[in-house]
Symmetry: C2
Subunit: 267 residues, 2 copies
C-alpha cells in the first residue's frame, strides 16, 4: 500500500544483496543495564531473531573494558555529538543509535524484520511507539511518583495506579492490538505485513511482562485476546527466539526491571 | 555522517522535485483534540513551518462532517487496518499516520524539516523520542495516578511527582539538550544539522510549556541553558511560526492540556 503522492519514494534503508553482506560482517555493540530485561530486551529480541552478531557490553568483563563503567563513560561524554539520553543504545561502527523504537526502526530495515512497503513500515513504527507507551505505563504502575524513589516509598500511590493500569489501561492496549491483528489484510498472524517483524517480537515481550507482573489480572487472556496470545505462542516457538529464551543470555524477569511482580499490585 | 556499512542506503523518503510538486498539492487532515495544544501542537508547528495546507478537522464544523465526532468515528472504526490508538493522527490521501514522533518523521522528510543525511535523520528522530518522554513526564506531573481521574483526585500525589519533575527531571532533560546543541558539529543554532528541523520546533514547544507550567522553577533558565533558550527565541521569531503564534490557530495554554499551571505544583 502506497501513501498518496509518494509513489516514487524509496523504501527506507532497503538493503541490496551487497549491503546485506556488509551488515553480516558488522558487529553491534549493545549498551543496556546488565541485570534486567527492561527496554533493552526489545533490542535483544530483534538481534537474536536476526541472528546478528552483537556484544551486550555492560554484561561484559570490566577488566576487558566492558561492564557498566564502559556504558556510563559514553553517557557522560559530553563532547559526543551523538550522545544518548539513556540506555539502551547501539554502537554501529562507531555511531550511536538510541531510543528503543529508533533502534528497532534501524535494525528492522537492515535485517528483514520490517515490512518492505513504506507505508507499512511507518505503521510498524507507529505500533512500536504505542508499545513504548504501554511499557512506560507498566513501569509507572510501580513507580508513579518517581524513578528516583524506591517502590517502598510510593507503595500507596502504586496501588492506585496499578489498579487502573492492570484494568482499564491494559484492556485498552490489548484490545487495540487484538483489533490490529484482526484487521491486518495480510493475515492475523502478524501485526503488520505477512512476516515476522520487530513489532511482533515486541508484543510478545510485552505480553510476557504482563503475565509475569499480573498473573491474576491476566488470567483468561487467551479468551479475551486470542490473536494476541496466539502471536505470543508463535513468537516463543520461533527457532532462534526459543533458543535465546532457553539460554543464559535471557535474563529472568525480576523486581528491578520494568515488569515487576508485587502481589499487592495484582490484587 | 554515514553509518558504517550503510553507505549505499538511500535517505528515507527523500523527495525528488517531481514528488515535491505532488506533495504541494496534497492536503493533510489533522485529527486532534480541538481545545488544547497537547501532542497535536508538535504536528501543527511542523505543518505551519512547512506552510503545508492542512485542515484541523476536530476544530471544524460538525454540520460539515468535521468536529470531534469525525475524529471519534475513525478511532472507533475497528475494521480499519491503519487504525490509530489515539490522537494525534494525520490523514494523508486516505492513509492514516499516528504517533506524534512518527508523524514528524514522515513530515520532516517530506517538507525539508529533517536533515538530508541518513544518520542525522535517525538522530533527529531519537531526539524527538526523548522530547516525547519529557512530554509524558510533564503530563504525569499533574496526573501521576491516572488520566481517568481528575487532578483534584490526585493532588497530593501530583505535588510529590511535580517536585521531582520540575527539579531533577527537567534539569536532566534540558542539560541534555543544551549539551546536544553545544556538541552539534554544524553549529549550536540547531539540534541536528545546519537548518531548522522538526526537532528544533518541538524543543521550542517544550520550553514554552515548561515556562508556562513552572514559571518559578524556570526562572533563570536563560543562564542555565543559554543555547536552549536562544533556540526557543529563534524559533519564535521565524516568520511562519511568528505568524502562527499570533493567529487564532494557536490555542492558548490552558489547564486541560499537557502543560498546566497549578501554582501549588511550582512551589
Amino acid at each position: 500500500m502506497q501513501l498518496s503522492g509518494a509513489q516514487h519514494i524509496p523504501v527506507w534503508l532497503e538493503l541490496t544483496n551487497e549491503e546485506s553482506k556488509l551488515s553480516e560482517r558488522a558487529k553491534y555493540l549493545l549498551y543496556y543495564w546488565p541485570t534486567i530485561q527492561g527496554r533493552g530486551e526489545f533490542v535483544r529480541l530483534a538481534l537474536e531473531e536476526a541472528d546478528a552478531p552483537y556484544v551486550d557490553v555492560a554484561r561484559g568483563d570490566e577488566a576487558a573494558g566492558q561492564g557498566v563503567p564502559a556504558m556510563l563513560a559514553i553517557l557522560r561524554d559530553g563532547a559526543r555529538p551523538d550522545a544518548p539520553f539513556a540506555p539502551p543504545f547501539l554502537d554501529v561502527g562507531g555511531r550511536l543509535i538510541a531510543q528503543t523504537a529508533n533502534i528497532l526502526l534501524y535494525l528492522g530495515s537492515r535485517h528483514g524484520l520490517a515490512p518492505d512497503d513504506e507505508a507499512d513500515r511507518l505503521f510498524a513504527h507507529q505500533l512500536q511507539l504505542t508499545i513504548a507507551d504501554l511499557v512506560t505505563e507498566a513501569h509507572d504502575s510501580h513507580h508513579p511518583i518517581g524513578s528516583d524513589l524506591y517502590y517502598e516509598d510510593q507503595k500507596r500511590e502504586a496501588a492506585r495506579r496499578a489498579k487502573s493500569f492492570r484494568g482499564a489501561r491494559t484492556d485498552k492496549f490489548l484490545n487495540y492490538f487484538e483489533r490490529v491483528l484482526a484487521a491486518n489484510p495480510q493475515g492475523s498472524e502478524h501485526l503488520v505485513g505477512r512476516s515476522t517483524s520487530y513489532v511482533d517480537l515486541s508484543l510478545f515481550q510485552v505480553v510476557e511482562g504482563l503475565v509475569y507482573s499480573f498473573p491474576r489480572a491476566m488470567k483468561g487472556a487467551g479468551d479475551r485476546w486470542p490473536r494476541v496470545i496466539a502471536l505470543r505462542e508463535r513468537v516463543a516457538g520461533r527457532a532462534r527466539i526459543a533458543r535465546y529464551l532457553a539460554s543464559e543470555r535471557r535474563i529472568p524477569f525480576n523486581n528491578d526491571g520494568i515488569f515487576r511482580r508485587y502481589r499487592e499490585l495484582d490484587d
